[in-house]
C-alpha cells in the first residue's frame, strides 16, 4: 500500500465538497457544515486503501478523446438503427478477435469500454484465457473477444483506429504495469 499524502486528501475533500454544494444548492450553515464534515470523512476513509494520485494530463487527454468516441457512437447508432428497421434484418453476428498491443491495464479497459459503448460491438472477454467449449476461437491473452452484429461494425474495431487513438491518450504516461 502506498502512503497517500495529506495534500491529495485535501484535494479530494475539496472536490467532494464542491460537488455537494453544487448538487444541494443550498447555502445555509447546516448544509455547508454537514457537507464539509461528510466530504472530509469520505476522503479520509478512502485515502487508506486506494493509491490515488491525480493525473491531470491523462484526464485531459481522455476528455479530448471523448468527443471523437461520441462521433463514432452516433455513426454506429445510425447504422444499428438501419439494421433493426430493415424488414430483411440483414444482421450477421460474429465473434471476432481484436488484437491489442496497448499492454497497460487501464488502456485495455478504456478500449474494451469504448467498444462496448459503441452500439453493435460488445467486448465479451478482456484477455480471454477462458473460451467456452464449442467456439471456433482459440484462447489468446493478448486479444479481446468481441461480439459484433455485422461486418461493417466489426471492421470498425479490427482496423485499429480506436486502438491508435487510445495509445495516443496514454502516450505520455510512464508505464507502471
Amino acid at each position: 500500500m502506498r502512503p497517500v499524502s495529506s495534500e491529495f486528501l485535501v484535494l479530494k475533500a475539496t472536490a467532494l465538497f464542491v460537488l455537494w454544494v453544487l448538487l444541494s444548492g443550498s447555502f445555509d450553515w447546516i448544509h455547508l457544515v454537514l457537507g464539509g464534515v461528510l466530504s472530509f470523512t469520505v476522503a479520509w476513509i478512502n485515502s487508506g486503501h486506494s493509491p490515488f494520485v491525480p493525473k491531470f494530463r491523462l484526464w485531459g487527454n481522455i476528455l479530448l478523446y471523448l468527443p471523437w468516441l461520441f462521433l463514432k457512437i452516433v455513426q454506429a447508432s445510425l447504422h444499428m438503427s438501419k439494421l433493426i428497421l430493415n424488414p430483411a434484418l440483414p444482421i450477421d453476428p460474429r465473434l471476432i478477435r481484436v488484437e491489442t498491443k496497448l499492454g497497460r491495464r487501464a488502456a485495455v479497459v478504456l478500449l474494451g469500454n469504448s467498444i462496448t459503448l459503441t452500439p453493435g460491438t460488445i467486448t465479451a472477454e478482456i484477455d480471454h484465457d477462458i473460451v467456452p467449449e464449442g467456439l471456433a476461437i482459440a484462447p489468446d491473452p493478448d486479444a479481446l473477444l468481441v461480439h459484433a452484429i455485422d461486418e461493417t461494425l466489426a471492421r470498425d474495431v479490427t482496423t485499429g483506429t480506436l486502438e491508435a487513438k487510445i495509445a495516443e491518450v496514454f502516450k505520455n504516461e510512464e508505464r507502471r504495469w
Partner: protein, 99 residues
C-alpha cells in the same frame, strides 16, 4: 428553446423505440444486447439533452450531467458483464446460415 428541447426528446424517443423493436426482432441475447446499448448511447443522451435545454441554466442541469456521466460509465460495464456471463454459461451466439 422549448421547440429545440422537444425536438431532442422526440429524437431520443425515436432511438428508444428502435431499441425496443430491436429487442423483439433480434434472435438471441447477444444481438439483443446490441439493441439495448442503442438505448443508452443515443436514446438516453438525446432525452437528457432535451431535458437540460428545457431546464435552462439551473442546478438541475448539473444533476443531468451527473446522470449522463454515470450512464456512460455503468452501461458498458453491465453489458460486458451480461455478455461475458452468457458466453461462459455456454450460450452459443446465433449465426446466419451460410446460403
Amino acid at each position: 428553446m422549448e421547440i429545440l428541447s422537444v425536438l431532442f426528446i422526440l429524437a431520443g424517443l425515436f432511438f428508444l423505440i428502435v431499441a425496443a423493436i430491436g429487442v423483439i426482432r433480434l434472435p438471441d441475447v447477444f444481438s439483443r444486447a446490441h439493441a439495448v446499448s442503442l438505448t443508452d448511447s443515443l436514446g438516453a443522451f438525446l432525452m437528457l439533452v432535451g431535458l437540460a435545454l428545457h431546464e435552462g441554466l439551473s442546478k438541475n442541469n448539473l444533476k443531468i450531467i451527473a446522470v449522463l456521466a454515470l450512464l456512460y460509465i455503468q452501461n458498458p460495464v453491465i453489458t460486458h458483464a451480461t455478455i461475458r456471463a452468457a458466453l461462459r454459461a455456454g450460450l452459443k451466439p446465433w449465426r446466419r446460415e451460410p446460403s
